[in-house]
Symmetry: C2
Subunit: 368 residues, 2 copies
């Protein structure tokens, strides 16, 4: 079923719910750790053969229905003029602190800044039998890293900038959006079959600030993806993910994606009812459930699949939901036993299979 | 207006919206820092005269409409049998790791465990002209600290326990609930006029897990508060606060509080519509707004006040909302300039004042 994932993104009928796992490439697999003993993190991102191998690992071991490129949302930073280290969390060498810092920021063309990413995409398309998802960081999230310099709980630096000097904040966000748009569009031109924006930190904004500082820049990136994906048959599905969006559901339809990723802190059925049937959803099992026993994993998978059918615009409670890609609600935890990730994939496959093959769109239209 | 805050909690008519600030006692005021140069954090919590002085500082400087006891949700831990240090973030000496660790946990009577808290409450009632809020940590949040041992992003330890050994998790939550119930009930018996539960981490749970592991234990605590508050005129308002509850609004009415605190990641108007008019709300300005200029603070205060009137069950768009206590959506940031906190309080007072004094309930009922 090579295009199962893409059909689900487009809300076309599916035989079962496709499943992949955020952060499936890297992090939790022993074969990834073995490879990392010989190569550091950035070398893995910048070497197409290594990025390709790491991307393939979870496809082989877990049997997921989509591959996501092994890379990092901060990979464009050096060519923007900003040094970054991973030890293991990201650390920006000189966080932006002034208007002059922001003005000095470059918005590089991805073909020059990160050619290794597109090379990895091309290599992968020759190897993969499932669709390849390209990705980049949301402009707001990238801006947050640039200003905060690393992990934060309060987001005081970036918010000080937003609230005290919105003009500089918007300049920064424009540069980030241009960089990200080039990165994601070039991945699509190189062959990525879906394009995902990880706007991890956008959920720390109030609904008002999300609309001012995150949404318009994500839209700009997705517009560039649409243009780049014009010659793909059926277009390139766009996926938007931000954490903690339970209070932002009213804005997610405007972000320019046909799929929105949801974290586990919202009931999937309630979210679908509020988002409306025109949006596909991706999610939303709590990653920590994979630290529990297989029986719990199966039960919780059933709950997510049930929620996905609420308000999906499909044909009732039997079979797989329309427009649902199963995933965790956040990246897989590094301590997750690989056999539990495998149990998740198997549970989704078993539990979401329709009793019969779904009817095609033509047949569906003739129904009452 | 000594009872303005209490009337707002009870959804009675008010002349203007009352305002106080989470973490107003301690953290950001220079007079607090001066005092902390001479006394360490736990000494301040355990010495009634010091706790009293710190509680009074923001009432004097900011003119808030309620005082909240200076203390910490982890103050009961030593008498539960668990060592804790503050340096400055809390660190549990030996995080709970086994069934035996949980079984060894005590659920102390607050009169023996933390008599200094009740003494501070009694001292404060003699000094204060605004109502005093007593508080404790939510049982789930206390359990999270006991198991995680300190700050965490993934909550992998506590969730492993919930998912792999729910029986032990429930035993732990029962002990925490008993400890917290005694603490909050005794504060009320000593004279606290409102009782607030800070269940800071409950918002990291999915709606299903919130209902299983946080809600029933918070209810238990509030039931003890109701019993303890029986002889207060009008009862003792109960306030429940958890961060990131935008996805949990459907459950908050069942938590046993008449006021729910909301963080800034949900639109207050939307939240009120979904919560229904029978619940009062507290919140919900992004604390980082206080890092911006006074003009922004005033504009954002107006937005929150406007949202509070949506679906409040009152008489339309003029004057203060029914059942709204203005607050930040999370604790004040340590770097907040005190003059900005003062500007917030003044903006709420000015902007929420009714053109005329509100009508009493009898007069209101005779309106069409």
């Amino acid at each position: 079923l090579p295009d199962l994932f893409l059909r689900a993104c487009r809300r076309e009928p599916v035989e079962r719910t496709p499943v992949w796992i955020m952060r499936q490439a890297g992090r939790s697999l022993p074969e990834y750790r073995a490879l990392r003993e010989r190569h550091d993190f950035l070398t893995c991102c910048r070497t197409p053969e290594l990025a390709c191998e790491i991307t393939l690992q979870p496809v082989r071991r877990l049997g997921v229905d989509a591959a996501i490129l092994f890379s990092d949302i901060l990979v464009p930073l050096p060519e923007m003029g900003v040094g970054v280290e991973f030890g293991p969390g990201p650390r920006i060498e000189r966080p932006l602190r002034s208007r002059a810092d922001v003005e000095a920021l470059r918005a590089p063309d991805a073909r020059e800044a990160t050619p290794f990413v597109m090379e990895a995409v091309r290599l992968l398309r020759r190897e993969l039998r499932v669709p390849l998802i390209g990705f980049a960081g949301g402009p707001f999230t990238l801006a947050t890293y640039l200003v905060e310099g690393g992990a934060t709980r309060s987001f005081a630096e970036i918010k000080s900038l937003l609230f005290s000097d919105p003009a500089t904040a918007h300049l920064l966000l424009e540069r980030c959006a241009a960089t990200v748009a080039s990165s994601l569009a070039e991945q699509v031109r190189a062959g990525a079959q879906a394009a995902m924006l990880f706007d991890t930190w956008a959920g720390v904004l109030s609904p008002e600030d999300f609309r001012a500082f995150a949404l318009p820049y994500a839209r700009r990136v997705f517009a560039a993806v649409v243009e780049a994906g014009d010659d793909h048959r059926g277009g390139v599905p766009r996926i938007y993910y931000a954490g903690e969006t339970a209070g932002l559901l009213g804005s997610l339809a405007e972000v320019g994606a046909e799929v929105v990723g949801l974290d586990w802190r919202v009931d999937l059925g309630e979210a679908r009812r509020r988002l409306g049937p025109q949006l596909a959803v991706q999610g939303n099992l709590d990653p920590a459930v994979l630290l529990g026993p297989p029986e719990l994993i199966r039960r919780r998978v059933a709950g997510v699949l049930r929620g996905a059918r609420v308000g999906d615009g499909g044909h009732g409670p039997a079979g797989p939901a329309l427009g649902h890609v199963f995933n965790l609600g956040h990246g897989i935890l590094p301590t997750t036993p690989p056999e539990n990730a495998r149990a998740l994939v198997e549970a989704v496959r078993e539990q979401s299979s329709a009793a019969e093959a779904p009817l095609g769109p033509a047949a569906r239209r003739s129904e009452p």
